[in-house]
């Protein structure tokens, strides 16, 4: 079913107009839902040079150590409310976001958002300070773990309502198209959110209007305590765009180089004006859904198996060592990251809470 050349040719004619009925996806007779997967399979692991690999390693390790520290601070009562850790899923955010053009592209995600922010190189201090609810936090302490934003980096949150970020991401993509700025939107959601109706409402409009958006399902196997097989009639999420003629990709989300290779294929497709892509990244979270989740719905052995055999950081470490990197150099990276995270934690613990006056600021922008 390889019909890529003709597909690309006819799809490229689609003008970027939301209401151009003549360019509806259904007009493309050669539409092949699996075409991107084929392109990806042909070259499944991104050929990163050593500097890139070291950077991926550093970034994933930063997320890992940051999240471990956040878990610790939560245990100490310094972080309150809900706190969803990204441990185990690091390769997804790093593999994808390293392929973005940060001058143009936007990102939006749900509440498991610390890792996506760190992937931008945002100072861990202001993220940790937000987790502890301090004035120096990136949302002045008023957002918390689930509601963090950096419009400077075109990172649009940080959304607490499961699935809402998918429709909002559709809007960010509409803005890219409207402004003709060449940017694309990367909208992450989980396997749980994948069952929300608005996700499909957005798929429909994104495909209908040819919006520049990559939908990424971070399938970590559990929607809180419900496994995908207990919640989803179709657990191969990349197929769920089929009814909307959105090409799907199935990616090993535990391998940063594979995620990056998939990102290259997906982003090129979307950036060429060919409409949305749905990418499923199969991953695993080592910790509970949130800090208050005892995770009784799965066995210790299952988690241990993931850690021992699929860990994304260990996998990249192995590749680095195979390519000649010394253990010592990698250890020194870890040491530097531990120090950076410890500083962030100190900062988050010692910086002041917001002043009482902040209670009333930022409710409205205008004065009426």
């Amino acid at each position: 079913m390889a019909k890529q050349p003709s597909k690309a040719a006819s799809a490229a004619k689609k003008p970027a107009s939301p209401t151009n009925a003549a360019a509806a996806p259904s007009d493309d007779p050669d539409f092949v839902l699996g075409s991107l997967q084929q392109a990806f399979e042909a070259n499944k692991r991104y050929a990163a040079d050593e500097a890139e690999m070291l950077e991926f390693y550093r970034q994933m390790l930063l997320i890992r150590r940051f999240e471990e520290k956040a878990g610790q601070l939560y245990g100490l009562g310094l972080i309150g409310g809900f706190c969803h850790l990204y441990i185990g899923q690091e390769a997804v955010a790093i593999g994808l976001q390293s392929a973005l053009d940060n001058d143009r592209d936007s990102v939006i995600t749900g509440y498991r958002d610390h890792g996506h922010m760190l992937a931008y190189g945002i100072d861990p201090k202001v993220i940790m300070a937000e987790l502890t609810g301090r004035e120096a936090g990136i949302s002045k302490g008023k957002g918390g773990s689930m509601h963090m934003f950096s419009t400077e980096h075109k990172f649009y949150g940080g959304h607490g309502i499961v699935g809402a970020q998918v429709a909002l991401g559709g809007g960010l993509a509409l803005a890219h198209q409207y402004n003709e700025d060449g940017g694309i939107c990367l909208a992450y959601f989980g396997d749980g959110a994948a069952n929300q109706g608005q996700v499909y409402e957005t798929f429909n409009m994104a495909a209908l209007w040819n919006l520049p958006i990559v939908f990424v399902v971070e399938d970590n196997q559990y929607a809180m305590g419900t496994s995908t097989k207990r919640s989803s009639a179709e657990t191969r999420f990349y197929r769920r765009g089929t009814s909307f003629r959105i090409p799907g990709m199935e990616v090993n989300g535990m391998d940063v180089l594979e995620v990056r290779a998939a990102a290259e294929v997906a982003f090129a497709h979307v950036r060429a004006g060919k409409g949305p892509v749905l990418m499923e990244c199969n991953t695993y979270r080592y910790r509970g859904h949130s800090m208050s989740d005892p995770a009784k719905y799965r066995t210790r052995e299952e988690v241990q198996d993931q850690r021992d055999h699929h860990d994304p950081i260990e996998r990249l470490k192995k590749t680095l060592i195979e390519s000649g990197k010394g253990e010592d150099e990698l250890k020194s990276i870890d040491k530097a990251i531990r120090a950076e995270v410890a500083q962030a934690a100190d900062f988050a613990e010692t910086s002041p809470e917001p002043g009482a006056g902040e209670l009333y600021t930022d409710v409205l922008v205008g004065e009426y």
Binding site: S17, P18, T19, N20, S106, I108, G137, I138, S139, K140, G141, K142, G143, H147, M148, F149, S150, T151, Y156, G157, G158, H159, G160, I161, A164, V166, A167, L168, G169, G170, G171, L172, A173, L174, A175, H176, Y178, N179, G197, Q198, E201, T202, N204, M205, L208, T361, D362, V363, L364, V365, G366, Y368
Partner: protein, 455 residues
């Protein structure tokens, strides 16, 4: 026996229309299914189809006649073999209610034109020329003017573009601004409200039209959780300048699921601006302000008012302040606080009360959040008696809020308890008589005013 063809009602709220064109002439044979005439309502041009057969023997209402009442006899059809009608028009039967004369027959609940005593809006400079404009046109003009001014402004919603608006509010916008800026959406409120909100986060200025606010219930999560809270949750970093607009409140005979006032719902949410104008000038000036606002705005219109015309100032850029009430009628004996369609009823009640020697002051809140408390309290201090008229349920209403404000901050000025005149506390029924019983009307408002005046 001639068959009478009567002016049809082509929408739930239609009371009269224009007989635009006859497609058959006197003497033509008519078969069921033939299009006989074109009729214009305030929303659309509709074809009038024959259901009888015979010969069109007499046209009683000429093409081009405006304001033909629903039910008026517009033509006669003779069955096969019957004598054609006399050349002169037959006398309408005196006992039959519809008359062939093109006089509008407003339903009892439809509002009369506001009395001439309406106070001039201080926002309009002396000497400004005024043009009578229907509310729907004023809303359209506001959008068009803002779209000309700011390329980031666009409209999206169901039937807003090619259909020209389900209620014709976006009429003509597609022609002027094209499909990029006037976007027809599928029927998918949650989805397009989210996309609109995301586009606002991304720097655009969306106007999201809901065909009615009843359907916005599907989208309320994005209005409240995504749009209203963004600025606060981001510590002022991320804004969401979006307008959600559409008709709100009871329409006419459309039953419980299509008849509800969401003013109190949205007005309870910090982070939102909620506007509910009554007349055309306020609709225009406030919609322009809403589109320019950096904050998310819920803009509540009313279908029953769309077709009503009011004076709108001929000004290049008529923008009104958000959060300011307006004194619609000055009075010294009692204050009637209301908004949206309630204002028309309050003014009517005030006219009745004036005949009885009670001078009512009518305050149009215009903005429900932030509420112009001061305007309410100032009027209360002047009249010492206050009632609230609200086309909506009484429980946890804007009326409840006004009463609370009067208790907390105006107690010393009160000479009588504050009363509220609201709809009955039931889902809106379909039956005409029950619907009428459920909704507020000028008589109930006047009665409450008399009561607080102890008259």
């Amino acid at each position: 026996m001639a068959i009478e063809l009567k002016m049809p009602a082509l929408s739930p709220t239609m009371e009269q229309g224009t007989l635009a064109k006859w497609l058959k002439a006197e003497g033509d044979r008519i078969e069921p299914g033939d299009i006989i005439a074109e009729i214009e309502t305030d929303k659309a041009t509709m074809e009038f189809e024959a259901i009888d057969e015979g010969v069109l023997s007499k046209i009683l209402i000429e093409a081009g006649t405006e304001d033909v009442a629903v039910g008026a006899v517009i033509a006669l059809i003779e069955g096969e073999g019957e004598e054609p009608a006399e050349a002169s028009a037959p006398e309408p039967k005196k006992e039959s209610a519809p008359t062939p004369t093109p006089t509008p027959t407003p339903s009892p609940r439809a509002e009369k034109p506001a009395p001439a005593t309406v106070a001039r809006d201080p926002a309009i400079p002396e000497g400004t020329r005024l043009t009578s404009t229907a509310v729907r046109e004023a809303l359209r003009d506001a959008m068009a003017e803002e779209m000309r001014r700011d390329p980031r402004v666009f409209v999206m919603g169901e039937e807003v573009a090619e259909y020209q608006g389900a209620y014709k509010v976006t009429q003509g916008l597609l022609d002027e601004f094209g499909p990029k800026r006037v976007i027809d959406t599928p029927i998918t409120e949650y989805g397009f409200a989210g996309i609109g909100t995301g586009a606002a986060m991304g720097g655009l200025r969306p106007i999201v039209e809901f065909m009615t606010f009843n359907f916005a219930m599907q989208a309320i999560d994005h209005i409240i959780n995504s749009a209203a809270k963004t600025n606060y949750m981001s510590g002022g970093q991320m804004r969401c300048p979006i307008v959600f607009r559409g008709p709100n409140g009871a329409a006419s005979r459309v039953g419980a699921q299509h008849s509800q006032n969401y003013g109190p719902w949205y007005a309870s949410v910090p982070g939102l601006i909620v506007i509910a104008p009554f007349d055309a000038a306020d609709a225009k000036g406030l919609l322009k302000a809403a589109i320019r606002s950096e904050d998310p705005v819920v803009f509540l219109e009313n279908e029953l008012v769309y077709g009503r015309s009011f004076d709108v100032p001929d000004m290049d850029d008529y923008v009104l302040p958000i959060g300011k009430a307006r004194i619609m009628r000055e009075g010294s004996d009692v204050t009637i606080v209301s908004y949206s369609i309630g204002i028309g009823m309050a003014l009517e009640a005030a006219a009745t009360l004036a005949d009885e020697g009670i001078e009512a002051e009518v305050i149009d809140l215009r903005t429900l959040r932030p509420l112009d408390k001061q305007a309410v309290l100032t009027s209360l201090a002047k009249t010492n008696r206050l009632i609230v008229a609200e086309e909506g349920w009484p429980t946890c209403s804007i009326a409840s809020e006004i009463i609370s404000i009067c208790m907390e901050e105006g107690f010393d000025h009160l000479d009588a308890p504050v009363l509220r005149v609201c709809n009955e506390d039931v889902p809106l029924p379909y039956a005409a008589n029950l619907e009428k019983l459920a909704l507020i009307d000028p008589a109930r408002i006047a009665e409450a005013a008399r009561k607080v005046c102890y008259k």
